[in-house]
Amino acid sequence: METVDTTASTAPICTHCQQSISPTAKYCHHCGVLQVAVPDIEEALQHQERLIILGVFFAIQLGICLFSNFGHYQRGLWPILLADLALSVFTLVFAAYFRKELRPLFSWKHFSVAKALSYASTAIIAAIVVNYLVKWLNKSIFDTESYYYYAFSQLKYAKIVTLLSVALQPAIFEELAFRGVLQQGLLKVTDSRQAIFISAFMFALLHMSFVSFFWLLPFALWLGYVRMKEETIWYGVLIHFCFNSTACFFEFFQLNLF
């Protein structure tokens, strides 16, 4: 479907009669044809099919997270590892399905070390602030102290496994799932703001904590915005990894593991 390039310095041309029109015109003043791209029936059906696929994708993710958080097995080493594995496999399956659309997001073309460092340092600072607040909230309001490390503490390389499970796996696969599959899929059917918000909201909800939701949502909105601005998921992966690994090191320090 053709659209009018309103950014060009010369006057745009009507998509139907090819005569010049005003850059702000919604309709051509010569032939009356609408100048805004409107999905036709075939496109509308494709949108519907895409929404169903995205719905199934989210439902699978939700099911896995519900099972690992509220199932009878509760949290432990094997439920966590199995949930991580299942989430990774399903994300890869859906990413393979949308591979043509996702390919540009894996581009390193405009990668800048300075930008990466600034994103990483912001993520680390944000993680320190959030972790202090979360630990304080858990202790003072919920009267609990939870540590990711305890799920792996019986293992020989517990710290490394904690980093792999809490920092590396989510950084890669959650970014691929939410900023890749979900956000990219939604961009085809709605505007960028709504796509960023919906994928960020789903991301925050899947963490299954109604209190953490209020820092997870801004964090996910930031990741969604960075992915739109930079047109790659790699900065998001880096931010996510720095944020989560800071949380792990925060725990290691608290538990005197160094």
Partner: protein
């Protein structure tokens, strides 16, 4: 405003009968709504009737979006009241502060989504529906029989949200298609 727009505004000396936007006497069609400025009276009348039909359809859709928006506010109010009542009905083994904070957080989420539904109804109603679904699933996992408690109310809430979402989706398409 660029040169072409300024020139267009200078030359604009008639107003569109359909949307009241300014137009030039030489224009065949209104640039804002596509009204046939130099069409026959029948063409102009047909255009206005069709557009009025779309606007009436939009009004109907808007009313369903408002109903879904109000549902989000009602859910927010429900969780707020439920959270505030927790201390009175809590069991001895329950953490009052935790239940209170969780319910107030959920209430705040629904209220914020309701506020946002006025500008971005699709995103906010989808999010509200998923949040509602998640809460029902958590309740179901905690106590399977709880799914039947207030089942009629739950169906009413779900239907308002589904109708609101479908209307918001259709309204977005209509707005794009006819520039309403």
């Amino acid at each position: 405003m660029n040169a072409a727009d300024e020139q267009a505004q200078e030359q604009a000396n008639v107003r569109c009968r359909s949307c009241r936007a300014y137009a030039r006497v030489t224009d065949n069609y209104c640039m804002d709504c596509g009204f046939p400025l130099r069409g026959t009276p029948e063409e102009q009348r047909d255009f206005i009737e069709i557009r009025r039909g779309h606007e009436m359809e939009m009004d109907l859709l808007r009313s369903k979006i408002v109903a879904a928006r109000n549902t989000l506010f009602v859910l927010g109010g429900f969780f707020l009241v439920y959270g505030l009542m927790t201390p009175a009905f809590k069991r001895a083994d329950e953490n009052t502060a935790a239940i209170l904070v969780s319910n107030l957080s959920v209430a705040l989420m629904f209220v914020l989504l309701g506020v946002w539904a006025s500008t971005k109804p699709v995103a906010s109603i989808v999010s509200g529906m998923v949040l509602y679904l998640l809460l029902q699933l958590i309740n179901f996992l905690a106590s399977p029989s709880a799914i039947f408690h207030g089942i009629i109310l739950k169906i009413i809430i779900a239907s308002f949200l589904v109708k609101g979402l479908r209307s918001a989706w259709t309204a977005e398409k209509l707005r794009k298609q006819y520039q309403l």
